[in-house]
Symmetry: C2
Subunit: 501 residues, 2 copies
């Protein structure tokens, strides 16, 4: 379809938070649009001419009824397509020509005392798009385009069950006959699943920043500190050094038994425990840069020295992590990875003497889910639980473990690999009272592990043509962690930061 | 009215973020409830027996359609009355007896893998209330009480124009005949305006933490840094040291001309300027502790040394700040303070040679609003723009300046005193093109000040019986600032932290 690729190839502008931070070219978004346009064009249900899509960006909210505005974070679909950082914008994309029109709020000139006001031309350059108009011109602009189909974003997020907000604008009713609500969501979701080289560059950067912040946390953590002191330090590093203003989610800084509480860190348990000598720490934190996220968990002893038991549990999780990572490549089915992780975990716990019995029998009895109730990975991108994990639109049931992906891996996917082993009292008691599971458990040994907490080892990877590129760069072996925490020696290295397969 | 004061006087529990942070007794909220009950009892429209109020707390939201949860922050009315930190709760208060019933969400036992689950009894102790039930028991609990009037919170926030969310629960329609939506909002708003000694203790603490964080920022700031590095440092101090997890609003870290952009720091201008040598810095930041806020602005030269011009502008604002603060006491009308601040500012600018003419004529021509378009203070409490600034429910017009309070001061009010002098190009151009204002302006001098930016000096105070208690403790005079920034010498002192009048 000639003419569809008429994108502006020169990128005048970049997003950046200063000279020490990554410069992200606006061509990242041109390429995203180009891929979406290609996908829609290939869709026989989209007319060859005259199809236009319209997205509404995030709105600046205020806290409850008050005028206090939280720091605005762009809606992820809108960000992925346009890269606009301001609130209350819309964007239209003409499928045939690829032409972009952004719509900005029209502010009264007196607003200049509150914020620097710029004309549309300023933003057309900033975002490297064809034109920028005001949001009160949406209906007229669309009317002039005489769309054969107006594609609006409407679909469910499988992980939350919530629907995205379809664009709402004055005069929308005039387009009722040509509005389509079905085609855009699956197409744009699939596009978001595969990352372009420019997106991968941002993901590498934010992972590097978060990795360094984790290292900094491990360097300074000491028994007696409050858990949130490390949360605060992590964010300060990511923001102050890396320009990453947003948390990607609520950070978990669980120590001791808190490390087995999977959602620890929320308002009811705000990382406000005192870190005790001998505790395991499970710190799950990752920042965002220009709406691209990272998600890293480091587990380590609070005093920098593993006990024999901590070493056993930790190494079981590390072996599980490394086995899965070594098996990752295009064409691999995630469910197979899931079973591989389960087998590795069970084998490790059997090796420790905690589980007793035949591996296959224990797999059949879902023993892995007693200690790893959450599947060991998810997609990552503009959201930390990125869209597209379930292309069929529903979450399949594969035993009691919560799955977060069900698809065959492809080059360019960005994933977390995060197996864990958690001693959750509720799950242990349930297993102990279930004869088909309790028969495999060494109860005396389990008793000694009830207050252990949990271990998670979470890395972020990109699926490459032949394997996986590890984005995360933190000490991982027991020796690397102990050397770093006790002596500040960085003994892990470049080898971990390259493609592995 | 006998029986109304049957409150539990023993406080078993405290909110705290660790031993280095303030312990806030739950009696703070008992006292708030006691005051509200008194106010409602004194209201002839509230029945003597059987009146019950019901509030819905804040809900845990997720970001757009995703499952990502921002850190929950309680709704301020609900916090003020109950002190509950968890999301999705309700609370009922029986006006006659003062008895409290909190309602918590009922979670499936399997949720124990995500969060530590506690029974209602746990929370009854934690929050020092009579009883805790589940939210699915609200209608039945209310039915058992046979309320003569069910008071729901419904009213507008004058600063935002938004209505608060009235409690919604299953079975609400059964109470349609007894629901009142008018009486609670004005009463609880008025109660929030006057702070109790226990509330003042929290306000002192959070001001102290934020003051120290500002000092830390001033100690390390250097030309060449990014503005957001200081925002990040400020928050790290408040959170990591003071246990203050939440920003009270979006922080402004404007330097150079950015310091004249009143809402600088939002997503379109995210404190991402490079700090230049010779710039003025205007850093408006304040954290929250247990939903009590602080709001402090420090203005200083980036290199720690005022130029003669910077000194002139700064001292004009400081004199304005100190003049108003010295005049504050119960019985004083805020509008008079407003005019005092305007006179002081105009007199200062006249003293500098920037304004030329008779003081009274310049007051009549609204010359102050050219440089200080925003009134110099607001109420402070559980919100940074706290409720109750406009008891009549509407914002009066007193010239072009944006007013945020219109009332007579009373003991126990918490206020910001924040005069400023901003060289906003839009406002300057408007004044220059207005013959009735331009006639007072020394245009040559103004030309040299166009890129100056702005100065704001913002302190938080409590109105005492005879004057004001200054909560903020930062270097304020030119000498104090220069000594601190250049040599780390703390030359300001205790005298500033005591009652002034």
């Amino acid at each position: 379809m000639a003419g569809k690729m008429a994108f502006q190839n020169t990128t005048a502008n970049y997003f950046s938070m200063g000279s020490e931070t990554l410069k992200v070219p606006m061509s990242l978004f041109s390429l995203n649009r180009q891929r979406l346009v290609k996908s829609l064009s290939d869709n026989p249900e989209v007319p060859n001419t005259g199809a236009v899509l319209l997205l509404e960006g995030g709105k600046q909210e205020t806290r409850y009824c008050t005028p206090m505005e939280p720091v605005f974070r762009q809606e992820s679909f809108f960000h992925w397509l346009f890269g606009v950082v301001e609130a209350d914008w819309f964007g239209a994309l003409e499928v045939e020509s690829g032409r972009v029109t952004l719509f900005m709020p029209r502010l009264h000139p007196s607003f200049a005392m509150w914020s620097e006001l710029h004309p549309p031309e300023h933003f057309a350059v900033k975002y490297n798009v064809d034109r920028v108009r005001y949001t009160d011109e949406i209906a007229q602009t669309l009317s002039d385009l005489k769309p054969s189909m107006l594609l609006l974003l409407n679909g469910v997020n499988v992980d939350s069950g919530k629907y995205c907000k379809e664009a709402v604008f004055t005069g929308k009713e005039k387009f009722n006959d040509v509005i389509d609500r079905k085609l855009l969501h699956p197409d744009i979701t699939e596009c978001r699943v595969i990352k372009t080289p420019e997106e991968i560059e941002v993901l590498r950067y934010v992972n590097q920043v978060s990795s360094k912040a984790h290292c900094e946390v491990m360097r300074v953590v000491k028994p007696g500190m409050m858990e949130y002191e490390l949360e605060s330090l992590f964010h300060h590093y990511c923001y102050g050094v890396g320009g990453c203003r947003h948390y990607a989610w609520i950070y978990t800084c669980g120590t001791g038994k808190n490390s087995a509480v999977l959602n620890y860190g929320n308002s009811g348990s705000p990382n406000n425990g005192v870190i005790k000598d001998g505790d395991m720490c499970l710190f799950d934190m990752g920042s965002e840069y220009y709406c691209y996220t990272s998600d890293i968990t480091c587990s380590f002893p609070s005093n920098g020295r593993f006990t024999p038991t901590q070493k056993l549990v930790y190494n079981t999780v590390l072996r599980t992590n490394r086995s899965v990572m070594a098996a990752i490549k295009p064409g691999v089915d995630w469910i197979d990875m899931h079973h591989l992780a389960e087998r590795e975990l069970i084998a490790g716990l059997k090796g420790m003497g905690l589980l007793l019995g035949n591996l296959k029998d224990m797999m059949n009895a879902n023993m892995a889910s007693v200690f790893m109730p959450l599947s060991f990975g998810h997609l990552l991108g503009c959201d930390v639980l990125d869209v597209g994990g379930f292309p069929t639109g529903s979450r399949p049931t594969t035993g009691p473990m919560v799955l977060r992906i069900n698809r065959t891996l492809q080059e360019g996917m960005c994933l977390t690999i995060e197996p864990g082993c958690y001693f959750v009292p509720y799950l242990l008691d349930k297993a102990l009272s279930n004869p088909s599971q309790s028969c495999f458990i060494n109860k005396d040994m389990l008793e000694t592990l009830k207050g252990f907490g949990g271990v998670r080892i979470e890395d972020d990877i990109i699926v490459t043509s032949s394997g996986a590129e590890l984005l995360t760069d933190v000490p991982r072996t027991v020796q690397e962690i102990e050397e770093w925490m006790q002596n500040g020696n960085k003994t892990w290295g470049k080898k971990d930061n390259k493609t592995i397969s």
